[in-house]
Symmetry: C2
Subunit: 230 residues, 2 copies
């Protein structure tokens, strides 16, 4: 009789907004008016506001006093700093995994990559999310929850950065690089794994060019809001 407590609506709002941002349905700079969001999700501004506050703490949202919330627009400087910290943390993740990863862990990584491959080219937004979640899974397998949380946060913010400073999303390369990381882990080769990780992350840091704004808020939230009411 596990009571199966349902997810509290406050969390749902947070989670859906987060996903909309990470999947780049809400692009950097997009306004996030409290009542419009609340209406779409069928909740009051109270919960929306809480969610926005939390997203702000994570760096996915910026709020201007008396002026509302916007999807964050990390500057190039911020972007550089985020990637630098990712480097530091993910190198440590690799170190830990080399020492402790189990067969089960490797299997779950493989399974994830298979999933990535399955949607490759078919569903852009989901590809973006899955690519990030591979890194989060790595961090979680490291066994250090604190480390995993920070990696997760930085990976999310990288989604924003990619949305701003990259021509087109080409996840094709990523899936391949992910496989390479798994192989290096399987062979317990820390230098190879770190090298791949460095390349994988470093390649992104040196580009620039913007995109056009996305669809309007209603359309986006209607899509993400379905999960709320259902």
């Amino acid at each position: 009789m596990t009571a199966e407590t349902p997810e509290p609506p406050s969390l749902t709002v947070y989670r859906l907004l987060r996903r909309a941002i990470i999947e780049q349905a809400l692009l950097p700079g997009a306004r996030l008016p409290e009542d419009a969001i609340g209406e779409q999700f069928g909740v009051s501004r109270t919960l929306v506001r809480q969610s926005l506050g939390r997203l702000e703490a994570e760096g996915l949202v910026e709020t201007r006093r008396n002026r509302g919330a916007f999807v964050a627009e990390p500057s190039l400087e911020e972007a550089k700093q985020i990637f630098e910290v990712r480097h530091v943390l993910e190198r440590d993740v690799i170190d830990r995994l080399i020492r402790r990863i189990s067969v089960i862990g490797l299997d779950s990584l493989e399974a994830h990559v298979v999933q990535e491959e399955r949607v490759r080219g078919k569903n852009g937004p989901v590809s973006i999310r899955l690519a990030g979640e591979f890194h989060i899974l790595l961090a979680e397998l490291s066994g250090n929850a604190v480390l995993a949380r920070y990696v997760s946060e930085l990976v999310s913010r990288c989604s924003l950065i990619l949305a701003m400073y990259r021509r087109r999303h080409s996840t094709d390369c990523a899936v391949d690089e992910h496989r390479q990381i798994i192989r290096a882990l399987r062979e317990r080769d820390p230098e190879a794994a770190k090298k791949i990780m460095d390349d994988h992350l470093g390649a992104v840091a040196g580009r620039a060019e913007l995109e056009e704004p996305g669809e309007d808020l209603e359309t986006v939230l209607a899509r993400y809001g379905r999960e709320m009411t259902a």
Copy 2:
């Protein structure tokens, strides 16, 4: 004519609660009832709730569904993980500082240590806070704001850990070790600096023993609430 926008009350509540926790005026496990806090600070539950939410995201507060908020009680496992990530991040801070720290930066570190020395033994809570702020200052001088934010968060959580798993607060040693770090930075000696940092952090990770609960909430918040109304 810089307009000097005053701090919004929501931020003030957050900041004061945070300080009360970090200075160990509110000990791990202490209940944090929303209306009692709001009454003390002269604000509604709305703002208290926002603050508690943010503190929860930072790991300083834990909330149990329909049961309220408490000052977090990190387990020994969590504590270990926090110190591990601190190690990784602060070693990187040192690396950066060796490369880039200016005379002005070194001076501000010196100034901070002087301040630490001034209150040594006289004001326990402030000593605790200042000891942590030395590490935060180091991280800020590294020039990477993302890195600084994470170090800051972890340092705060360490305050909780010390409150739970340490016999008595002996900041005497810390001040001395802080001086040693400054010296190593001045001499551009990365290995020495990292060695000291490792010892400094590592020394704490291997102890255990609990303390007794603290004073009641009202007394504590009356002290911290002064800044709110003034």
